[in-house]
Symmetry: C2
Subunit: 349 residues, 2 copies
DNA sequence: CTGAAAGCGCTTACAG
DNA sequence: CTGAAAGCGCTTACAG
């Protein structure tokens, strides 16, 4: 069954009525609707989305843009799969489908976005890996396309976003470490995305609240990866006044960091306290297992989906766009990598 | 600039000519084409994909279907991100875009596929996590939609596929371990997808070639995850005749397996040899680092893209569809987790 | 080389 | 409650 015409012919009614029945319009005879629905099911008829989109001006799809190179910085692995599941749950209720739009390394993110929106693949967008100054946001605002960002930007005004509580986590980690007696707390950070800046702010706020001096030498800029953690480890080992604790903006770093420390005979958790960002299977299986912060990817996805629905006039007619901003709370999960109290004398070189 | 009509008006030519110029038709005056292209660029005009699709019957997009629950068995996000990059490189040359289509846990894969194809989101498909008996394949063949599968199915006839060399890896791993003196070699496997069956076949072929008996007790069925490795580890520790070596169908398993073994005082690589499937950052940073097999995700993506292009009549008019099948070779990368020769006496309990 | 026109498959005022 | 018709934005024979 290729098109609506054929289905209408088979039922001996007009295509208009078939369309109305299929679209759940109220003004259709109950029996007619039943016949149409049954015939559609029987013949496997589904309206051609191009025809529908052309007529209605929407696509019934929403997109989640991924940047292939940098996404590792938000969690790599299963982060986006977990979030997708939650997004789908919400948007599915509105008969929207989710598609992931991967932007290649070689393509400019704005060019890509412009192309995908111009082609009108999707009715709304979720973008991630938000930068401090992110031209994609200006473009999307100008284009009047409903969108939500995962991650705030520098000014973070005029659009809706959800951001993990990077500042809160860094602050909390510093306070916990300080309470255990640490005085020299390093930050293994990555400021490619804005989240790194926010993380550093929380870190500095924590230092101030704990009455500790901020030593720029303790601010390590590395990649959000196993290798980045290794780089941070080598760097710290080479320092004259070695930190006794380090906070990681990405838990993957712990893998490389542990490796490097152990190679040098420095025991993670015993000779150096380590706190990771997000709890993950990797962090759980590290030995000592990594203290980190927990969040539900599914719930985050649900929140993102709902935020986007709020931006879409067809679903939320009396909602002011760009008005919601959420800092997603995360819960400390104690591992064995930052035991306390810390015995300062036993550690510094 | 909203539509072609407006652009044509601005240039004072017909929309037909604008369209022809934009579509690189040869029968357009050189100067006219130049004017059109410049104006389009200037006003940011991009043809509406719905109009184009409706008229031409294609979408200029290809889809990579992911199953959110089971994809971990192929490697999680990083795997698909790496592959996506390669796919895009190839299909981009034909002005096709790649979108990822995540099928939620709660949705039936065939229903999902049917819906997405009926809506005509994409002109071609790559599906993954192929099962032994995969109804998606019958559906796609019947629908005459160009597609390629990542992973062969049980019969693997009548469609094109690329599969990692699971059989070859298992065979090679057994042979290497046997050559080092191992007699009891376990397999931590996952047969949810067909790859697990193929892996087991290679394992048995290896055992036979090495003159070793196949002990069903050494065939462990676990999840392709950290936790799955832990389960396998606990199981092996509890065995009367403990294996001296184990081959993992997924390298993530090593994380949990190492953990459990170490907890029990069994040293990975020394008291038990371990070989993983795919080399990854995780495997590289394990201590001892995991012997595993290397492949280029990017090249695999390129091959998938090319295979799909071959299936698409508009790009490969004289290609017989469904005729290509590739077993993707993988290269052994020696780590420290399976040193040899093995001293049998020192190990069994 | 260009323009006028048909038509891709749908939805939706409009008339009855 | 239903049908006939317009039109969404594009591409492409066809005529000139």
């Amino acid at each position: 069954m290729k098109d609506i015409r054929e289905l209408a012919q088979h039922l001996d009614i007009s295509i208009g009525t078939v369309s109305r029945a299929l679209n759940n319009r109220p003004d259709v005879n109950k029996n007619t609707r039943k016949r149409v629905l049954e015939a559609a099911l029987q013949f496997g008829y589904v309206p051609n989305q191009s025809g529908r989109s052309l007529r209605r001006g929407n696509t019934n799809a929403i997109g989640l843009m991924l940047e292939l190179g940098t996404e590792a910085s938000m969690g790599g692995d299963n982060f986006f799969m977990g979030v997708s599941e939650g997004i789908q749950e919400v948007i599915g209720r509105h008969n929207l489908d989710l598609i992931l739009m991967p932007c290649g390394l070689k393509e400019d993110a704005v060019d890509y976005l412009q192309r995908m929106t111009a082609r009108r693949f999707v009715d709304g967008l979720i973008i991630s890996a938000t930068r401090y100054d992110d031209p994609r946001i200006d473009f999307l605002i100008k284009s009047k396309i409903p969108f939500v960002t995962l991650g705030r930007s520098g000014d973070s005004k005029g659009f809706s976003w959800i951001d993990l509580d990077f500042a809160g986590v860094a602050y909390d980690a510093v306070m916990r470490l300080a309470a255990k007696g640490h005085r020299r707390i390093a930050l293994a950070n990555n400021t490619t995305a804005n989240l790194g800046r926010v993380f550093a702010e929380g870190y500095h706020a924590g230092l101030a609240a704990a009455g500790l001096d901020a030593d720029p030498a303790l601010l390590l800029e590395v990649g959000s990866s196993e290798e980045g953690g290794a780089v941070a480890g080598r760097h710290m080992l080479a320092m004259d006044a070695r930190p006794t604790a380090v906070i990681l903006v990405h838990e993957l770093m712990a893998v490389g960091l542990y490796h490097i420390l152990e190679e040098a005979g420095v025991r993670p958790g015993e000779d150096m306290a380590i706190v990771g960002f997000r709890e993950s299977p990797h962090s759980r299986f590290l030995r000592p297992n990594l203290s980190a912060y927990r969040l539900s990817l599914h719930e985050l996805g649900v929140a993102l989906g709902e935020a986007l629905i709020n931006e879409m006039p067809q679903f939320s007619p009396d909602q002011a766009p760009g008005c919601s901003s959420v800092i997603w709370p995360m819960e400390y999960l104690e591992g064995m990598s930052d035991p306390g109290p810390w015995n300062d004398s036993g550690t510094a070189p």
